[in-house]
Symmetry: C2
Subunit: 297 residues, 2 copies
């Protein structure tokens, strides 16, 4: 009798265990097939595929701080929307948008709110200053400096800083290059300085020269869009800000303040042989004056 | 002895089963935590978050066929790159790029190859035809028609067609609107026809009028960027192509061929109250002639 009891209990427990086992296996299979389906569908969506490569290295990646000066005009939302679309494809960024105004506008506030991006929205009005003779006045200076000031206050550590105007055109590869910057990365910029492109000239993976036409007296003949810097450079120098008036050398005078030497340049964009950024300008439109036509159709 | 044997076998099997059980549970936990970590990191990447909403409905979504005429110019790659970035954020599309040339260029071929997008690359040279008097000649007509012809050949079924110029600016919301089109969707377009925007005027969710200024004689005063159609319309009408010469009514004459009536218009963009597309133009740049300066820096 005892034996029979043992046998019964034994089979009873066996059946129970087996069921639990099967349940776990079944749940596991359902779960895995759901995840598989999700991943398959995700793979079908182009950008998901693009992003999967960043998922495993996300925590180690430096953050890119992108400073964008902007000002009110008919084409502003068009340009910002295009730039937002591009930046939505760049993981781990902080987008610092600085309006040229006394206060933050409702329009840009809503834009930032609905963006699903990590946006810092600031405002800094361009000062009315008299230009010294023989100097040129630069646009976006107070706004970029406001962005730099914000960064200096927050003191992020593992970060790269890039100054991105709102009407330029950026390839995604540019941001992969920026991500790999140690001290200062440089690369060609298309449609700038009256040329098809301005570009660092390299020899054995080092920058030895620069291809450009405009103003030979510049400290470095580089466009705003052609470099990105390690955030630590901003902390090392108290005057790491742009100057409103320079001798046509906005970028060079800034890099001089950061004590950048030619030897510091890290050439990107396949040793400066590719174009990943274009200095485009969006045409300002003429809006018709007078009466507007409305008719039934 | 028999009892002892049973008991031993019983505990033996119990231990074995338990281990299997624990292994399954342990594997399951590791697997789940890995997936969780992946999803967490994916969530941190803005666009992944954006895309997760499409994953479950992917199979039922109609495909959007986007026809983009393009032509060689200094700003071409900049414009196409920006548009590519936008389209990378739109799931389930086929991007039909039609070059204005006899043969497909290497440049656009490489661009298409490296895009991670479902691109159909075609070429169709604009014919040199004499314009009849009182008519206006339109750009991009042969290229859009080549795209339409390709679609008519392939006969995709659950699909919407949109004509997207390469230099316009598109918000992602536009494509969500396009996805929901049944017959023909319409919406405002900014910076067009000499106005801040042209737009359908709605009453009780129906289009009753149009806000515009340019050419009152148009069949429908709508811009190319302001509508998308169900692909079935292309199959229903043999002459569902654009006309090279019209009385300044490229879009209207096309919609007339599709027998579109005002009652067919499905107003999008929150009953045509929002701007999701801008008719931007990229400034053509002047490239400096003559000697190029190169100097050691």
């Amino acid at each position: 009798m005892k034996t029979l009891e043992y046998v019964l209990v034994y089979f009873g427990i066996l059946i129970l265990l087996n069921q639990t086992n099967e349940n776990i296996l079944a749940n596991d299979l359902i779960y895995k097939s759901q995840v598989k389906k999700k991943i398959e569908n995700c793979q079908k969506i182009h950008s998901c595929k693009y992003f999967l490569r960043f998922v495993d290295i996300y925590d180690e990646m430096p953050t890119i701080y992108i400073i964008t000066p902007t000002y009110l005009r008919e084409t502003q939302m068009a340009d910002l929307t295009r730039l937002r679309n591009t930046l939505l494809l760049v993981p781990k960024i902080v987008w610092i948008i600085v309006e040229d105004s006394l206060e933050k506008s409702d329009k840009i506030s809503s834009f930032a709110m609905e963006s699903n991006l990590n946006i810092v929205h600031l405002a800094e009005k361009t000062l009315k200053l008299e230009k010294p003779s023989k100097y040129s006045a630069h646009k976006g200076v107070e706004q970029r400096n406001r962005g730099i000031y914000w960064i200096k206050e927050k003191q992020p550590q593992n970060a790269i800083v890039y100054f991105a105007d709102d009407d330029n055109s950026y390839s995604l590869k540019l941001f992969e290059d920026i991500r790999s910057v140690k001290k200062i990365g440089v690369w060609p910029v298309a449609l700038v300085g009256g040329l098809k492109y301005e570009a660092p000239i390299c020899n054995n993976d080092k920058v030895v020269d620069w291809f450009y036409a405009y103003n030979q007296r510049r400290y470095v003949p580089t466009d705003m869009a052609s470099f990105a810097i390690n955030v630590q450079l901003l902390y090392q120098f108290d005057d790491s800000y742009f100057e409103r008036f320079t001798k046509s050398d906005l970028e060079g005078s800034f890099l001089k303040r950061l004590n950048i030497k030619v030897a510091d340049f890290e050439p990107k964009a396949e040793v400066c042989s590719k174009i990943h950024v274009w200095h485009t300008r969006t045409m300002l439109v003429k809006i018709r004056k007078g009466e507007i036509v409305e008719r039934k159709i």
